[in-house]
Every structure is written in C-alpha cells, then in structure tokens.
C-alpha cells in the first residue's frame, strides 16, 4: 500500500479538526487533514445560533456564571475541571476567531454581537444572561470558512475526499496513523504520523429524525471501538426542541433567544407550566420533553397534531431579516411558511451526542489501562462532538458546541506539539498493522442479498422508536434485540456497485458499520443507566439518582461491557458546584 508520512494527522475537516490543524500548521511540524468531504462541507457549517463566551458586550457577565450554567445544564454529569477550562478560555478563543476574520455581527459600539440563549443566567442561576456571540444565524458557516481559509494560508496538507478506515497501532498501544482510501480513485493509502487526532464529528444519523448532515455517521467512534477502546456516556443524546416538523432541519435556539416562543394547539405558551422562570429558554432537554408531552397528550398542532408552533412574527420583519435570515430561508423552503407572517411548525429532532471518545482536557484519548482508569493512549487525540471530555455532561447548552471545538481544538493542537517534541522519532509500523483494514475492504467485494440502504433505514427506525426522548427498560431491550437482527442481516449484505471510482455505495456500507457500533454503545449504555438525568429520560426510573449514578459510563465492544468512572466534581481553581435539583 502507498504510504505518506507526516508529523501530525487530523481526521476530520470540521471546526475542531481545522482549529487543531491550524495550531500545528503554524509550527515547524508537518500536518495533514483527512476529510471524507471537502472541509467546508463538514457539519460545523450548519451551526446557526452562535458560540458562547462571557464577553459581557451586552450585559454583565463572568466566565464563572457560564461555568455554573454549563454544570447545571449538564445535570452535574460534566467534569468540572474541563468545564472551568472551557469557560475560562472562551473569551480568548472567540477574540482569536475575530482576529482571523470571522464576520461576527456587531453591536452599535462595534463590539461582537451577543444574544441570549437557553440555560444562560447571571449570578449563578439568576436572570437571563446574553452570552452567545453570533454571525447572524450562520455562525457555524462563518467559523468553518474562516478556519479553512486560515489553514490554506498556512499550507496545511489536505486529503479531501479520503475515507479513513482504521487506526494503526503497535503492540505497545501507540497510535501510528490511519489507513484510508481515496474516494475518487478507490486507491488505499496508509498515512503515518506520530500524533493522530480524531475530529470526526457526531453520529446523529443513527436516528430516523435528525438535524444532522448525512455524513454524521460516527466514523471516528467506529474506529475507536474496533481498536478495542471504550466510549463514554453514549446514552446521552440531545434532541433539539425545534426541528422543522417532518423534516428535522434545525431552527436555532436563537429564535427563542431573540424573543420567539412556543405555542400548543390552544395557543397556550405551555413552557410556562414546565419552566416557570426560564420558560422557552430552559435547557434543551427540558423543552424537548415538554414538546413531546404536549404532542403525546393531544395538544399538538398541525393536521396530524404532531408538532407545536414556534411563533416569531411579533419580532417584526426587520429583526428577522437582519438576525435570522438563514432560518427564514429554511422555513420557507422546508415548511412552506414565512416566519414573518406565520409560526413555524416544529418538533424535537436528534441533534447532538454528548458522549463519545473519552479524553482529558488536552484532548488525549484516555482509557482504563494498567495504572488507572484514565491512562492516555499514546499518540491518539480526539476533539469535538466525537470526543467526550466531558463538558456537556448529560445535556449540552446551546452555543457550547462551537466553543468546545475551538477551545479543545486549540488545546489538543498545543499538546500535540509538546508530544511531538517529546517523541521525536517515528515508531516502526508493524507489518500486519493494516491487515484488518484490508479485510474490511475485501469484505465489501463479497456478494450478498441484503441491501445496505434497507438495513440503514431499519436501524434508524429502531433507534427512533426504541431509544428516543422517553425510554424504558422493555423498549430499550426490544431495540437491542432488533439491533442484533440487523447485525445478522449486515453479515449477508453485499454491494451491487463494484466500481472503484467514487463508489458511494461502498462508503455507505462502511458508514453503516460505524453507525451500528454507535447504536450498540447507545442502547447498552442506556439500558444500564437506571435513572433519569439530562437528556436520558427513563420513564421507569424518573428521578435522578446521585447516590448510584453520579458517574460516567464506559462502553466496550468486547462483551458489550459497561464500566463506570467517577465524575470530576473538582474544578481547577474555583470551588466545586455541588449537585442540587435542576430547575429552570
């Protein structure tokens, strides 16, 4: 197989990968980015509302308040050292993006525009804060393009439209790079590097109704599982309250931040009943559950009573055109509704994976090993939605994901530089390092009667109906049985497309293998956690149970095993925020 060698290697061309790549590209080390799509097609581009940092441009603010909100928003499952780190670094990370040229919207005094978002408060749970920095409602697009532009300026080596297959490791557990192939030519390739960063994004396409791009198939998670490493907190999936009904496309929380609100079929502002104080700007899990209950109890809107109305016409045409032009466009196209005139029909949609590849706050992948439960895997890093550091805990706050990307992308890039200095010599690649990848490619040349698209559709239906907003042991176990059947069918699947050139059927087959790994981790972890916390709602265990469950789950593929590790309640420098009841 052809081999290319770099000092550092990034898998994934979204915000996290490009921020880390930039750190490395500015140094003397060589860095390559492998992405299965041209980098600006990555899912970061779809982020709308903004990036959260306590700049205090509009109103009083402090990073400590941001930290409190993030801990509370995550229902105390987030690690407080990582959360402190992220909230402290937030302002500098945002200013840095501005210096790079990100076209933020502006206030009259010329500073970066900020808007209120859900779960934000002043004075540790007091009045609504105004903390989310925005470029209209296209913040992700602006951020991703800015980072890509910086990377071309610094001459990062891009492998666009290459699909990464597996991690290459030696007997001592060092990560030595990845196996990949060119989607355009089908040619396999080994890319060796002393440090490898996974920034492969989420896996929201495991659900039938999802806000996620079609490329969000958990490829990095599949690679980690196949390498025998665990995944953390995989039962926690955020359902965003406001996806366009029936389509799933996202309508940003910024709509409610700018003053929009939700109505049921009686025209009632029902969030007043569920969150008397924060109302429509409560945590996303709280709002999503409220909508699901309204619909289930027959108070939904629309001909099938399967959605609620998001009203924003009272904001006025000018505010909508200036602040929310992108969602107006989406609403007109996908819901046939101009929000200047009428409310948008919305329903919860699978949106974000709080769990992922366990890392420390330098982005190093950690796993239980000889010396403890959190030993770094040498040479392997993970950042962004694919990683679980864990700052989002059991429920992510809006505006914190773009922040996660740039803060931890930068931190991981910095740590990789140190690692490269400390490990100046490449380790030899074992002769059999790519055997598993070769076998995987060869497997998809075998004929079979089962079709990939049919299995994928069934997988999404299973996860949607058996692992959605509300869960019980019985329903989750039904899902697990169905998943086993799907895996059995996958063994008999084959491709009709035998071409090597731009064979997207083969890509979809490889993605399905990754999705099934994600689904398994999710179902097994969800069955094991017998409490309700954040986005994980068990109807059979409706209370949060700090005595038994104030801990992270760690899922390993070997024997579908679930282990636990403690939540870090101790921040870096400030006082711990002790668990208490979470009300909005």
């Amino acid at each position: 197989m052809n081999t290319r060698r770099f000092d550092a290697l990034i898998i994934g061309g979204g915000g996290a990968g490009l921020r880390a790549a930039l750190q490395l590209a500015r140094s003397d080390y060589t860095v390559a980015v492998v992405s299965k799509v041209f980098p600006t097609r990555s899912h970061t581009v779809s982020a709308q509302g903004g990036i959260t940092a306590a700049l205090a441009n509009v109103d009083d603010d402090r990073w400590e308040w941001h930290m409190y909100d993030t801990v509370k928003g995550g229902d105390w499952l987030g690690d407080q050292d990582a959360i402190e780190f992220m909230c402290r670094e937030a302002a500098s990370a945002v200013y840095e993006l501005e210096h790079m040229g990100l076209p933020f919207s502006r206030l009259d005094n010329g500073k970066i525009y900020q808007r209120p978002f859900g779960g934000q408060s002043k004075h540790f749970g007091g009045d609504q804060a105004t903390r989310t920095c925005a470029a209209a409602d296209r913040t992700g697009h602006a951020l991703l393009h800015t980072l890509y532009q910086q990377n071309i300026q610094h001459r990062t080596q891009f492998f666009d439209e290459y699909f990464a297959l597996d991690l290459l490791r030696d007997a001592d557990g060092y990560c030595l790079g990845v196996s990949a192939f060119s989607i355009e030519t089908g040619e396999p390739l080994l890319i060796e590097a002393r440090a490898t960063l996974l920034a492969t994004g989420g896996a929201g396409r495991v659900f039938g109704n999802s806000s996620n791009a079609m490329i969000n198939t958990g490829d990095g998670l599949g690679m980690v599982l196949r390498a025998g490493l665990p995944l953390q907190d995989m039962e926690f999936w955020q359902f965003h309250p406001t996806g366009i009904a029936g389509v799933g496309c996202l309508i940003t929380e910024g709509v409610r931040g700018e003053g929009g609100y939700l109505l049921n079929k009686h025209g009632e502002r029902f969030m007043e009943r569920y969150a008397p104080h924060a109302r429509d700007l409560a945590g996303r899990d709280v709002v999503a559950r409220a909508i699901a209950i309204e619909i289930a109890e027959g108070r939904g809107c629309g001909p099938r009573a399967d959605c609620v109305d998001l009203k924003l016409d009272h904001l006025g045409e000018q505010a909508i055109v200036e602040k929310l032009p992108g969602i107006r466009e989406l609403s007109i196209r996908f819901a046939g509704v101009d929000p200047i005139k009428a409310p948008i029909p919305v329903a919860p949609t699978a949106h974000y994976m709080m769990g992922g590849i366990p890392t420390n706050l330098h982005g190093q992948v950690v796993a239980p090993a000889r010396f403890g439960p959190e030993e770094p895997v040498p040479g392997l890093y993970a950042v962004g939605e694919c990683a679980c550091v864990s700052v989002h805990g059991a429920n992510r706050l809006g505006g914190n994901s773009l922040l996660d990307l740039v803060v931890f992308g930068r931190a991981a890039g910095r740590h990789m530089l140190e690692y490269l200095r400390d490990n100046p010599y490449p380790r030899p690649l074992p002769g059999d390092a790519a055997d598993a990848s070769r076998a995987r490619l060869a497997r998809w040349e075998q004929p079979g009667n089962e079709r990939i698209t049919a299995i994928t559709d069934d997988l999404r239906r299973t996860m949607q109906t058996r692992c959605g907003v509300f869960r019980t042991d019985t329903v989750l176990r039904e899902g697990f049985t169905q998943l086993n059947e799907l895996e059995a069918r996958l063994a008999h699947a084959g491709l009709q497309d035998t071409s090597r050139v731009f064979n997207t059927a083969r890509i979809e087959a490889l993605e399905l293998e990754n999705l099934i790994g994600v689904a398994r981790a999710t179902l097994v972890s969800a069955i094991s956690r017998t409490e309700s916390r954040g986005a994980h709602t068990r109807e059979d265990f409706p209370q949060r149970d700090d005595e038994h469950w104030l801990k992270h789950t760690l899922y390993s593929r070997e024997g579908d095993q679930v282990d636990a590790k403690p939540v870090r309640l101790k921040p870096l420098t400030v006082e711990s925020i002790r668990p208490k009841e979470r009300v909005y």
Binding site: V45, R106, Q149, A213, L250, F502
Partner: protein, 231 residues
C-alpha cells in the same frame, strides 16, 4: 415521476449516456435530492455528493433542466418532467453526477481568501461598526457550491485564467472588510485581462446562485475600485 439522468462510469469504457428512470414519488414537500436518494436506493450505482440536505454545505450542486441548482433545496413540484439531471457544466466529470471541483477550488485559493491585518492584535476584538459589517452581507455567505462559476461561459472557456464569479465574490468579501489591509495587493492580483476582465456582466451567476447572492455586483465594485485608483 420521469427522470433523465446523466450516467458515466469511467471504468466501463463506454461513453456517457442519459438514463431514463421512473420513480414512484409524491412530489409534495419533497426535494430533488429526496428523489435522487430514492433512485439510488433502487440502483446504488448512481453516484452523487450530498451532505447537509438543507442548502448550506454546497455538496449537491447539479444541472437540473438546464439550470445549476442545489438538489436539496429544489422542490420536485417546481420541475417539469422528464427532469433532466446532469453534472455541473464546465468541469471534468469523475463519474455520474460527480465533477472534479479542483479547477474551481484553485481559483478560490488564487484570490488568497483570508484576512490580512499586520497590526498588533488587541487583547479583545477589533471594532467594526454595524455599517461596515453590513458591507459583508451578500459576500460572506457563499457556500462554494460552484453553481455560479460553472454557469459562466467565460469560465468554461478559460478555467485556468478567469477567477470566476465565486472567486471574485470571495475576493470582494475581503476587499470590503474594514479589518483587512491588503486591498492594494488584492486589486493588483486581479488587474488582468483574464482574471477579472473576462467577466462580461451577463449575470448567469446571479441567476444561478442558490443563496441569492450577486457576484456580478461585487465584480462591478472591484472594477470601480480599479478605475478609481487609476484616475
């Protein structure tokens, strides 16, 4: 519904051909991308790019009934049958609806699309008035789908020399940015009979842009700046 799809498999040794496909689909509320995915479910050998399915990633630009559009935001109900879907014109076809975008990206990179400001960095944000920021509206939203550039005959004839509407819009995005200090160098980089002046103002790009942007207007402003610095 009736479709007519451009098919090309380089390994087959056969010439490209148009394939007629019948699909049982209710067009109400559906987009062209939904139909292409449904066709691919029947015949997985159809190759196309797609990702966000909501018109922001720019992957699935194709030529539909003679016009460049994003499949994911093109309602089926607006299209007359048989719906003819071809790859974007003016770029080499890799396979089926997938084109080699490199000539397009090369022109994008050629305008040095990044902010240049050599002043010491303040510890907070650089200030920009809302009025100055408003100059970027209509310039920064480009998604690099290539609908405009591949609708431009000047680019068809001179893909190596003419920057094309997307690249020129991108150049203007930085010229218009009050924080950028490289306007003279950016204008030098464009002052060329081919790079900029192959634009004849026929406005195919404006007609094609799925985001409603106006590259021709941006090109006009660049030309005006060049005239201004001459006199």
């Amino acid at each position: 519904m009736k479709f007519c799809l451009y098919r090309y498999r380089p390994e087959s040794g056969e010439k490209p051909f148009m394939q007629e496909v019948e699909l049982d689909i209710d067009p109400a509320g559906k987009m062209l991308l939904d139909a292409l995915i449904a066709i691919k479910a029947q015949d997985e050998t159809l190759s196309l790019r797609r990702s966000c399915r909501e018109g922001v990633c720019g992957s699935d630009a194709v030529n539909v009934n003679g016009k460049n559009r994003l499949a994911c935001i093109t309602p089926l109900s607006e299209l007359t049958e048989p719906i003819e879907v071809r790859p974007l014109p003016g770029l080499p076809v890799i396979r089926d609806l997938v084109v080699d975008m490199e000539p397009f990206y090369r022109q994008y990179r050629s305008v040095k699309p990044w902010l240049v400001n050599d002043d010491p960095e303040p510890e907070v944000e650089r200030l920009q008035s809302p009025q100055d920021r408003a100059l970027l509206d209509g310039a920064y939203e480009c998604i690099l789908c290539a609908c405009c550039t591949t609708a431009c005959p000047s680019f068809w004839w001179n893909p190596e020399k003419f920057v094309g509407p997307a690249g020129l819009l991108q150049a203007y995005r930085f010229i218009a940015d009050s924080r950028d200090e490289a306007t003279p160098a950016r204008l030098d980089n464009l002052e060329d009979p081919y790079r900029l002046y192959r634009c004849r103002g026929i406005m195919n790009c404006v007609d094609a842009c799925p985001k409603g942007l106006n590259p021709t207007a941006a090109i006009g402003r660049i030309k005006a700046l060049l005239v201004k610095r001459r006199v």
